[in-house]
C-alpha cells in the first residue's frame, strides 16, 4: 500500500532556551489511504507539533530543519504560504480539540462551512447551501436545517464538533488530521464522535492522522499506532500489536499505567458511615430583578449518600452532572439550600461560617488544577504549613511538619523552600495533597485530582492516594469523570446525572451489573472498553521512565 502522506526524517528545531533542542527528531511516518493512524504520547511528546509541521502551522520561532513531508509527490515543507493555503482545507482537513474556539462565534455554522466552498470552488450560492446541508446530514446533526442557521454558542459541544468535522470534510480531502478531537467532550459524546469519524473515514476512504493522549481512544479507533516520546517515534505498528504486545519499554510503561476498566477484587469495608449526605439540594439562580431573564439550575437535587469509615466513595458523572457542586457543598465552599451533611455528629450544612472554619480540621479537599490550586507567591512548605498555622500551630512546628508531609507524599523534604512553579504537574498535585493532609482530616474530598495529569503521573498519584488511605485510615470522597480511574480506587460508586444520583452501590456491582440505563450508557461509552491493558511482568512493577519523574523539576 502506498502512503498518501509520508513524513520522512522530519526534524523540527525549538528556539534556544527550550527544554530540549528539537521538538521532533527524525520522525518518519507513513499515512495510508483508508486507515486511521493514531499518534499517541504524553504532553510534550511532540504529537501536536507533528500536525503543525504538516500544515505549516508551527508556532513562532519553531521551524523544520530537516526532512520532507510528501503529499501527492510534492514536499509541503518547501511550499510557499500561498501554495499551502490551497492545500489546507482542500487536500488536508483539520479538526481541533476545542470546537468553541476553533469556530468563529459571530458567524453561523452554515456560513462557516460554506466558506470552504467559496474559497476553494467556483460553486454558486444555492449549490453551496445544498452541499452544506448534505454535509450536516452526513455528520448526523439533529435538524440540519436549524443547525445551518445556528451560531456556535447555540449548539452543544458534541454538535459543534460535528460541525467542525463537516467543515473539515467539506471538500473531501484525502487526509484528515484530528488533534485530540474528543478530549474536551463528555464520554458519551466522545463515543458518538469516534463512531462518526470511523464511519465517515470508511465511507470516503480518507486517511486519518488521529492525535491523542488516551490509550482507550486508541484501542477504540486505531488501525495503526505510533507512540511518541520526547519528539521521537519510539514504536509503530498495527494497533493490535502495539496495544497487546508492546515492544518498547516506554510503550509498555504507558500501557501499564492505563487503569483497567475491571475493578480489582473488592476490599471489605465494614466501618460505620463517617460522612452522611442526606437530601442535599443546591440550586443556582441567575438573572436580575426582572423575571424575564431569570434562570434556575438545579445543580444537585436531593442527593443522599454515605461514606463508610476507611472507604472511598466515587462520584462519577459527565460535565454538568452536579458532582463538583456536591463536593463543594460537602466542604461548604458552597452553601447547600437544604439537606444535611453529617460528619462526626455535626451537621456541616447548619454550621455558621466561624464554626465551619473550626470544623475544616476534619474535612479537607484536594483540587483538580495543579497550576491554579497553589498560590504562586508562597513557598511550597508554607502552603502546606498554612492549614495548621490557621488552626493555631506555631510557625516553626508547622514548617517542620510540612517537611514530614513532603516525605509522606513522595517529595524531597528539602524542596519546601521552592515556589510552586518550580515543580511539575504531578509534584504540585502532591503538594496539594500534603496541604490537605496537614490537618489530619477524617475525610478527604478529592475533586478530579488526577484528570489534569499525564497517564503515567496519574498512575503514580493514584497509587499514592491508595497507599495513604491504607496507612492513615483516610475516608475519601473521590469525584471523577473517568470510569477507569473510578474502577481502580473506589469501593462504592455513585453515578450522577443532571443533579440526581441515579445509581449507587459497590464498585464491582455497578460495573458488572449496572441497573440504571444511564450507567449502562456511560459504561458502554468508555473508549476501548473491550481492550484490557496487558500486564507484562517487567512493566507491572514500576514504569521505567515515568517513575524517573525526579523529586524536583529540572
Amino acid at each position: 500500500m502506498s502512503a498518501v502522506l509520508s513524513i520522512e526524517a522530519l526534524t523540527v528545531a525549538l528556539p534556544p532556551g527550550a527544554d530540549r533542542p528539537h521538538a521532533l527528531e527524525d520522525v518518519t511516518l507513513g499515512l495510508n489511504a483508508n486507515e486511521i493512524l493514531c499518534v499517541v504520547g504524553e504532553s510534550g511528546s511532540g504529537k501536536s507539533m507533528t500536525a503543525g509541521a504538516i500544515l505549516g502551522l508551527l508556532p513562532e520561532g519553531v521551524h523544520a530543519t530537516a526532512g520532507r513531508v510528501i503529499l501527492d509527490g510534492r514536499d509541503l515543507l518547501t511550499m510557499t504560504e500561498e501554495q499551502l493555503q490551497k492545500i489546507r482545507g482542500a487536500r488536508i482537513g483539520m479538526i481541533f480539540q476545542e470546537p468553541m474556539t476553533a469556530l468563529n462565534p459571530l458567524r453561523t455554522i452554515g456560513d462557516q462551512i460554506g466558506e470552504m466552498f467559496r474559497i476553494h470552488t467556483p460553486l454558486g450560492k444555492a449549490e453551496i447551501e445544498n452541499q452544506v446541508l448534505g454535509l450536516l446530514r452526513d455528520v448526523h446533526i439533529p435538524d440540519p436545517e436549524a443547525a445551518r442557521r445556528a451560531y456556535p454558542h447555540e449548539l452543544s459541544g458534541g454538535q459543534r464538533q460535528r460541525a467542525m468535522i463537516a467543515m473539515a470534510l467539506a471538500l473531501e480531502p484525502r487526509v484528515l488530521i484530528a488533534d485530540e478531537p474528543t478530549t474536551a467532550l463528555d464520554v458519551t459524546t466522545q463515543a458518538q464522535i469516534l463512531k462518526l469519524i470511523r464511519e465517515l473515514q470508511q465511507r470516503k476512504g480518507t486517511a486519518v492522522l488521529f492525535i491523542t493522549h488516551d490509550f482507550g481512544v486508541v484501542a477504540e479507533i486505531a488501525d495503526r499506532v505510533a507512540v511518541m516520546q520526547r519528539g521521537k517515534v519510539v514504536e509503530e505498528g498495527r494497533a493490535d500489536e502495539v496495544l497487546n504486545r508492546p515492544r518498547h519499554p516506554y510503550t509498555r510503561a504507558l500501557i501499564a499505567a492505563v487503569p483497567p476498566l475491571a475493578p480489582p477484587p473488592p476490599k471489605v469495608v465494614t466501618g460505620e458511615p463517617v460522612l452522611r449526605i442526606e437530601h442535599v439540594s443546591k440550586t443556582y439562580r441567575k438573572g436580575g430583578l426582572l423575571s424575564r431573564n431569570k434562570r434556575v439550575t438545579h445543580a444537585v437535587k436531593d442527593a443522599t449518600l454515605s461514606l463508610p469509615h476507611g472507604g472511598t466513595l466515587g462520584i462519577v458523572g459527565e460535565s454538568g452532572s452536579g458532582k463538583s457542586t456536591l463536593a463543594r457543598c460537602i466542604v461548604r465552599l458552597l452553601d447547600p439550600d437544604s439537606g444535611s451533611i453529617l460528619l462526626g455528629g455535626k451537621d456541616l450544612a447548619r454550621l455558621s461560617r466561624a464554626e465551619m472554619r473550626a470544623e475544616t480540621r476534619n474535612i479537607q479537599m484536594v483540587f483538580q488544577d495543579p497550576f491554579a490550586s497553589l498560590n504562586p507567591r508562597r513557598k511550597a512548605g508554607e502552603l502546606v504549613a498554612q492549614g495548621p498555622m490557621v488552626h493555631g500551630e506555631g510557625r516553626a512546628k508547622a514548617l517542620a511538619r510540612a517537611k514530614e508531609l513532603f516525605a509522606l507524599v513522595g517529595l524531597d523534604p528539602n524542596a519546601t523552600e521552592r515556589y510552586p512553579h518550580e515543580f511539575s504537574g504531578g509534584q504540585r498535585q502532591r503538594i496539594g495533597l500534603a496541604r490537605a493532609l496537614a490537618l489530619e482530616p477524617k475525610v478527604l474530598v478529592a475533586d478530579e485530582p488526577v484528570s489534569a495529569l499525564d497517564v503515567s503521573v496519574q498512575a503514580q498519584v493514584l497509587r499514592l492516594l491508595a497507599d495513604l488511605r491504607e496507612r492513615l485510615g483516610l475516608s475519601m470522597v473521590f469525584i471523577t469523570h473517568d470510569l477507569r480511574v473510578a474502577a481502580q480506587i473506589c469501593d462504592r460508586i455513585a453515578v450522577m446525572k443532571e443533579g440526581v444520583v441515579v445509581e449507587e452501590g459497590p464498585t464491582a456491582e455497578v460495573f458488572t451489573a449496572p441497573r440504571h440505563p444511564y450507567t449502562q450508557a456511560l459504561l458502554a461509552s468508555v473508549p476501548g472498553r473491550t481492550w484490557t491493558p496487558p500486564v507484562s511482568p517487567d512493566a507491572a512493577a514500576e514504569p521505567s521512565r515515568p517513575s524517573a519523574e525526579p523529586a524536583l523539576a529540572p
Binding site: 463543594r328 466542604v331 465552599l333 465551619m356 472554619r357 473550626a358 470544623e359 475544616t360 480540621r361 479537607q364 479537599m365 483540587f367 483538580q368 488544577d369 491554579a372 490550586s373 497553589l374 498560590n375 504562586p376 507567591r377 508562597r378 498554612q386 492549614g387 490557621v390 488552626h391 496539594g432 496541604r435 490537605a436 490537618l439
Partner: protein, 276 residues
C-alpha cells in the same frame, strides 16, 4: 530581583529612573544648597536667569530666588505626590478588594460609590473640597488623594474578580482561613503588580493637580511649591516668561520621570509582556 534586572534592560525606564533620582537629589539637597527660607526676599525682582551670578535662575515678581524655590519645591511636589498616591491606592485597594472578593450587593454598592466619584470631574471635586476645608498643604494633599482613588479601586476589583475563583483561594477557604487573611495575605500580593504600576500614573496626576490648584492660587501660599511659582509668573507671562517656564519644565520632567518608571515597572511586572 528579576524584575529589577528587567527594568535595567529598558532604556526608557533607565532614563526615567535617572531623572527621578535627580529630582529626589534636588529635594534632599535643598536645605544645604539653599539654607535660607526660599520664600524670603532675596534681591531685585524679575532678574533674568544668568544675569546675576547669585541668582542663576533669576528672581520672580517679588524678588525671591527661583532656584531656591525650584529645589525646595521638589520636596513639596514629591511629598504631595507620594502621600496623595499612598492614600489613593490604599482606599482603592480596600474598596476594590472588598468589592471584588465579596461580589453581589457589596460589590454593587461600592461600585456605585466609585462611579459617583468617577463621573464628577476630579479637578472640580478637588476645588470643592479645597473651598470647603481650606488650602492648608495637608488638606490639599488629602483632598488630592480623595479624588484619585476610583481608578485603582476598579483595577483592584478586576484583578480580584479573576483571582477569587482560582482554586488556591478555595483551598485557603477549606483550610479555614478568615476572609481578611485570604483577601490581604493571599490574593492581594497576586493582584498588586498592575496596581503598583498604576500608582505611577496617580503620582504624576497628583503633582499636576497640586500645580493646577496653585496656579489658581488655591493651594497653600506658605509653601514653595512649583505650582505657586507658576501662579506668581502668570501676571508677567508675556515679558518675563521664564518665571513660569522654569517650574513648568521641572513639573514636566518629574511627571515624565514618574511615568517612564511606571512604564518600566509595567514591562517588568507584567508576565504576559515578558517575551516581547
Amino acid at each position: 530581583m528579576e524584575s529589577l534586572k528587567r527594568i535595567g534592560k529598558s532604556p526608557t525606564a533607565v532614563i526615567g529612573l535617572i531623572l527621578l533620582i535627580l529630582v529626589i537629589g534636588m529635594a534632599l539637597s535643598a536645605p544645604y544648597l539653599f539654607p535660607r527660607d526660599p520664600l524670603s526676599l532675596a534681591g531685585r525682582p524679575l532678574q533674568w536667569p544668568f544675569a546675576n551670578s547669585r541668582f542663576w535662575l533669576g528672581t520672580d515678581t517679588t524678588g525671591r530666588d527661583i532656584a531656591a524655590q525650584i529645589f525646595h519645591g521638589a520636596r513639596v511636589s514629591l511629598l504631595i505626590g507620594l502621600v496623595a498616591t499612598a492614600l489613593a491606592i490604599t482606599i482603592g485597594i480596600v474598596v476594590g478588594a472588598v468589592a471584588g472578593y465579596y461580589g453581589g450587593v457589596v460589590d454593587d454598592v461600592l461600585m456605585r460609590v466609585t462611579e459617583a466619584f468617577q463621573t464628577l470631574p476630579n479637578f472640580l471635586l478637588l476645588l470643592v473640597l479645597v473651598a470647603v476645608f481650606g488650602t492648608d498643604i495637608k488638606t490639599v494633599t488629602i483632598a488630592i488623594g480623595l479624588v484619585s482613588w476610583p481608578a485603582s479601586a476598579r483595577l483592584t476589583r478586576a484583578e480580584f474578580l479573576s483571582l477569587r475563583s482560582r482554586e488556591f483561594v478555595q483551598a485557603c477557604r477549606t483550610l479555614g482561613m478568615r476572609d481578611i487573611q485570604i483577601i490581604f495575605r493571599e490574593i492581594l500580593p497576586n493582584a498588586l503588580p498592575p496596581v503598583i504600576v498604576y500608582a505611577s500614573v496617580i503620582m504624576a496626576v497628583a503633582i499636576l493637580l497640586e500645580s493646577s490648584l496653585a496656579f489658581l492660587s488655591l493651594s497653600d501660599p506658605n509653601v514653595p511649591s512649583w505650582g505657586n511659582l507658576i501662579g506668581t509668573g502668570r501676571s508677567v507671562l508675556r515679558t518675563q516668561w521664564y518665571v513660569s517656564a522654569i517650574p513648568g519644565g521641572a513639573i514636566l520632567l518629574t511627571v515624565l520621570a514618574v511615568s517612564l518608571v511606571g512604564q518600566g515597572l509595567n514591562d517588568a511586572l507584567n508576565p504576559r509582556l515578558k517575551s516581547r
